[in-house]
């Protein structure tokens, strides 16, 4: 099954809420990530997305504090994937910091979820075809087994 631990990004880039917007933008560009997690006392308190940074730049806000958003949901490695999907689709939450034993161990973004969905879809199609084939063969066998010809053959 789909596991939070398998699809999360493990190298989370964190930033303090007092740091400058420029610094945050530099971090994002150099690490090629689409979101930063704002930490305070070892707890994620907010997230910053690319859009937030651009908004900050175009309205010349100086600090991370001014642009960060609270639209995130802390999850644990045991959270069910379906829960993440429903938050993503219904509540429009796009970032999920993964916390285990009070420590930030990963981050799931929309991109990770899409990747996982894509792989899962492919896997599911194969499984479904195999099940259909097995049932088809079983049906054929049943019909044959209980038909007069089958009965004379199997006794």
């Amino acid at each position: 099954m789909m596991n939070v631990r398998n699809i999360m990004t493990k190298d989370v880039v964190t930033v303090a809420q007092a740091s400058g917007l420029k610094e945050a933008a530099m971090l994002m560009a150099s690490k090629s990530v689409s979101s930063l997690v704002v930490m305070e006392k070892n707890r994620p308190i907010a997230v910053v997305s690319e859009t937030d940074i651009i908004k900050g730049i175009s309205s010349s806000k100086p600090r991370v504090k001014d642009v960060m958003s609270r639209e995130f949901m802390i999850i644990s490695p045991l959270t069910r994937f379906s829960e993440i999907i429903s938050s993503l689709r219904e509540k429009k939450i796009k970032r999920f910091p993964v916390v285990e034993n009070e420590k930030l161990v990963g981050l799931i973004t929309e991109t990770d979820v899409i990747e996982a969905t894509r792989d899962f879809t492919r896997f599911h199609q194969i499984v479904q075809e195999v099940i259909l084939a097995i049932f088809g063969l079983a049906t054929a066998f049943f019909l044959f087994y209980f038909s007069p010809i089958g009965a004379s053959m199997f006794g």
Binding site: K22, A25, M26, M28, A29, S32, S34, E50, T51, I53, I54, K55, I57, S58, S59, E110, T111, I114, T117, R118, F120, T121, H124, Q125, Q128, I131, L132, F135, A138, T139, F142, L143, F146, P148, S152
Partner: protein
Amino acid sequence: MARVRDVMLDDVPTLGKEAKIGEAARLLAGRGTGCIIVAEGKKPVGIVTELDLIRNIVKGKSLKSPVSGIMTSSVVSMSPSMKLDEALKTIDIKKFRRYPVVDNGELVGLATKRDIVNAISDNVRFHRNIQNAVLVIFVLFEFFVFVLFRYLYKYLPLGS
């Protein structure tokens, strides 16, 4: 099967080649589409994503320089009549996330990996339900055949 035109975004943020980076930033901040298409007339010539913009601003590019300097100009586009399966193949090969949808050389929409994957996943889920219903009917049918043969066997004019 659905096609690209069913899942694409119709209202694409577009800018001309001469537009300034500052304008691009304002458009990106206001729209939340994650990218803008740079077009010459109606023809898309490039794409600027949020990360492109951030990279260039960090590098010290002025907000007054033109967007044509930071755009990615080899854009892979899709056609609106493309099936979603084919679109997914294109995505797997090209590895981009956003594709302008072009009809007769004109920009008509924006297709994202997210929308295409979600549409296919919903479709698969729908089909899975149908298949499961069919399976249940099959099993019931098998059971029926089994019972019928058990009890009607002796009345059927089949051999001894």
